[in-house]
């Protein structure tokens, strides 16, 4: 089967799907609404699979292979150079009425609201993670559907993380408290994440139970903080978590901090190569250790 996207029933939404017959292949679509990370659909599958992969999907496929969630020989990776996904929350928030249609052409996005067409530059409405993406081309593939595109140069990937790092402890506390206050614990962030394939997540442990199930802020925070740490050195900043959240929480600030630390301390970007173990599952004598005091 081939895993890809088919056109969704609403503007700015496509649906991940599988195709098993050649005559159904015409259902497959590719546009700026394919933000879900398809690597999420690979873990523990046994069959031969063709998968459409943009840059971040391909990096999560690499991570899956390294972590033995799928075999390289099982996969035919159909690479797609990615020009970024559009931010449906941002676009929705820009208009008063309901969005009737969103079309795209050559770097322009046309949004129809109240029967009126509004033209936007795609560059202005990219998902936040796509705007600072440095790996738009698939890093691993068997077929490429188009020529590679030029990678974005000179993007500042961690401006948002530095802003939080510069806060006082009290400011950080308040910032995170407000950030997480709308959380309804639907776990859409976790479940849309290709890294979150644990058979039983720590918040779902029942014998014994580790974390309260309700809306107590300490339990909500425990979930988000621990989940983020579990993604340390593995996250590709694909943005699936933030995109999936029904209440618009940018939980990427947690994983990005860990991504920044991985990069600064180990020179590591997740999912770029099959030939090197990730820093957190290997030991090197020269690993930085000045955080031990």
């Amino acid at each position: 089967m081939v895993i890809g996207f088919r056109k969704g029933s609403m503007p700015m939404m496509n649906e991940p799907c599988f195709i098993k017959n050649a005559e159904d292949a015409a259902q497959l679509v590719w546009d700026s609404n394919c933000g879900i990370n398809l690597a999420n659909y690979l873990a523990n599958r046994k069959e031969k699979i063709g998968i459409i992969a943009k840059g971040c999907d391909s990096r999560n496929i690499v991570t899956h292979i390294i972590e033995n969630k799928i075999g390289r020989e099982q996969l035919v990776i159909i690479g797609v150079p990615c020009q970024g996904m559009i931010d449906k929350y941002k676009i929705n928030a820009m208009f008063d009425g309901e969005i009737q249609d969103v079309a795209e052409n050559d770097g322009k996005i046309t949004v129809t609201v109240n029967d009126k067409k509004n033209e936007l530059d795609k560059a202005d409405v990219l998902q936040k993670n796509c705007a600072v993406c440095a790996h738009r081309n698939p890093v691993i593939f068997d077929e490429m559907v188009a020529d590679p595109i030029e990678e974005q140069k000179g993007v500042d990937r961690y401006e948002d993380v530095r802003e939080i790092e510069a806060m006082s402890s009290e400011e950080k506390w308040n910032y995170f408290e407000e950030l997480l206050s709308p959380c309804i614990r639907c776990y859409a962030c976790r479940n849309a994440c290709p890294l979150c394939y644990c058979p039983t997540c720590f918040v779902d442990e029942a014998k014994p139970q580790w974390v309260g199930k309700g809306q107590d802020p300490s339990d909500v925070r425990t979930f988000h903080f621990l989940r983020a740490f579990h993604c340390g050195g593995r996250c590709t900043d694909c943005g699936a978590c933030e995109r999936a959240c029904p209440v618009g929480i940018n939980m990427r600030v947690f994983t990005k901090k860990l991504e920044k630390d991985s990069f600064e301390q180990f020179g590591w970007e997740a999912g770029l190569t099959l030939d090197e173990r990730p820093p957190l599952d290997t030991y090197r004598p020269d690993d930085p250790d000045d955080f031990i005091r």
Binding site: G8, S9, M10, M13, N14, E15, P16, C17, F18, I36, N40, Y41, Y89, N92, A93, E98, Q100, P182, I184, R185, C186, Y187, A188, R190, N191, A192, T200, D204, A206, K207, G212, K213, G214, Q215, D216, R243, A244, C245, P246, V247, G248
Partner: protein
Amino acid sequence: MTLVKIDKKQWAKGLETLQKAYRLFGPSKEKDYFSFKTLEAGEQPELGFSNSRLSPKALLFPQSEAIIEYSLDENAADHHIMKPVEKDSSPRVVLGIRPCDAKAVNLVNMNFDTPEYQDPYWVEALAATTFVGLACDEPRSTCFCTSTGCGPYNEEGLDLLLIDADDNYLAKVLTDKGQALVEAAGWNTPAGKAAEIEARKAAAEAKITTTVAMDNLKNQDLMELHGASFWEDIAFACVNCGTCTFTCPTCWCFDLQDEVHGKAGKRMKNWDSCMFPLFTQHTTGHNPRGTKTQRLRQRFMHKLKYFVDKYDKGIMCVGCGRCVSQCPVNIDIRKVCDLMNSYKAAETACAVQE
């Protein structure tokens, strides 16, 4: 039925008067979406909204509610005695609830208030509440309430229905609670004919362009639907998050959990979701709904088949469209309902069942 006219200039004053007799709740915008919140003195409900991101069911059925408390301190005279948590059951008003969400309250009530069993927390909260509905003149493309036996001017579950008529609200008094409320607010200007309402209602209904067929669900064979071939295709994209169930106004499942901090304990009633593996996990470790396809099928079969068969009151869905617009992977209940309604079992499948 009484119809009163409320000059919008008198609206705030009426609410101020109401606040002396009731606690007020209404839609309020935070960040880029609306939620139902307690309105403080002088605070107005923001009625220029389409609908709230989450359904207002949490007003009666909070996501996390302490229902019982106890002490484990053996020096305390009342240790190990379960005591009900004090609730504020004073009269309150929910302003601006949409007709779909009000009908949903009635559907959930069929589960929480039966001749045999009553959920006291739900029943008490409901008894204390007067629902002031706001007719829906700008339904969204994901709305399909006219297919579900509801509608943008539907009155079920409401005590008062407000209709936005330019400079005025027309208020249709539907129950004694509604009558008490208009009296308490001092809204006593009789309105003219109901004809104006009918025209507005027809205009609103005409804007709902999605129709979903559900006439055949009752006739479908339960086991054949259960074994239908389309579940795998629908479930593929599903990530098994709880967005659909938590935003749904009719999902009523909950879990009871004891939480102990030091020597103080409380029993919590927390929303649960049939999308979660733990929902059906047995203490043996066995899970009768161990795959995501089984869990997704459960959600749709419950809403669109088991409920239909058990109550004969239509489907367990009011067509608010929240799950459609908020599902991260675009699983669309309208499409699933059509598939279930029109499903024809292959002959081979019948042969296997025999």
